[in-house]
Assembly symmetry: C3
Homo-oligomer: 142 residues x 3
């Protein structure tokens, strides 16, 4: 993992090495950059991907696994969960015929080429919390 | 709808409550934040989605409706149309098998979890206008 | 191509005229704005699209061609390659039934409506380089 920060330290490109776990590498970037609230964009390719579909009833992610894919789109954010900076990232990936598959980025996405961009919010970070009627921790909407 | 603004007021995260209409909620955020020109990113999930495919011949959006989906990607902007701030948002959503469906975000997208990010352009907003040969209002390209 | 820059010149919306080649138009924007390192977002529609799937073995992009599509998502960056600013852009596009197809934006994407946003990194640009074990030029990850 290597960071390419802006002069004011509020933004950075990040590159991962081939074979790194996507979320591991991005989490190390978050630590290195000292981010608590930020927006995140990712493109590149993965040797394999695991994306999840959240089932509200079971509060579990149904995993979808792929082989080598393009990262067509990675959009996410950094905020606070359980007192720590936490990355929430959603992906759209595509195979040789272009067919797109998407979902919540899970452990097990292995980098081929990963080009990420973080920009700090530069304000109080949203905090993920238990909210009535929700089976996952969210930023309160009221 | 709740805003999580930056210290300088130029950017904000936004969270919607479960059940809110996506465009309604984001439009209220645009008003609350006083945005006239901004970039927009969204991830999360929707209880149901309506995305459109624009048909240039009829100048109408062909709607595609889904059940509960992940918002894999929401990219958009705020600019001026008919004298008012206007959100243009495109979505990629995915179901339990990960299959991705995309298009123009329409009325009827109901929030499950919505995490949005706005950043103001901080300059004169683009203005949507009628342009020869186009059947929708666009930012002039010359 | 027309730019809609921010007051400080660090960001800009960009609109392309119908019929312009997507990468050509965005490259002219990069020149006009003097960008060397930037993040890029695109939505809109294309009269036709060509997106590629990178095959590591052959170091070639397998092209996927479409008719008129929505640009559901365009995410990319500007950095330095061979001494010049270079756009790397990935797309997700969708047709009348919403089915999403994705990949690396290639020559031959013809604009219907293109609304892009650039924000400069405002720091030393990443430089694409040959790296051992990779068959394309990447930002070093160590």
């Amino acid at each position: 993992m290597r960071t390419y920060p802006s002069d004011d330290g509020k933004a950075s490109f990040v590159s991962l090495e081939r074979g790194e776990d996507l979320l591991d590498g991005l989490n190390r970037a978050v630590s290195a950059l000292g981010l608590e609230a930020a927006t995140l964009q990712v493109i590149g390719g993965l040797e394999e991907a695991v994306v999840g579909y959240f089932q509200p009833e079971t509060a579990e992610y149904l995993p979808i696994r792929t082989g080598h894919v393009e990262i067509c789109s990675g959009l996410g954010n950094v905020s606070i969960r359980d007192g720590q900076p936490f990355i929430h990232l959603h992906l759209v990936v595509s195979g040789p015929d272009g067919s797109a598959v998407g979902g919540h980025a899970m452990e097990g996405c292995r980098a081929f080429v990963v080009e990420a961009y973080f920009r700090a919010l530069d304000g109080p970070p949203p905090v993920r919390q238990d909210v009535e009627g929700m089976t996952l921790k969210v930023w309160p909407g009221v």
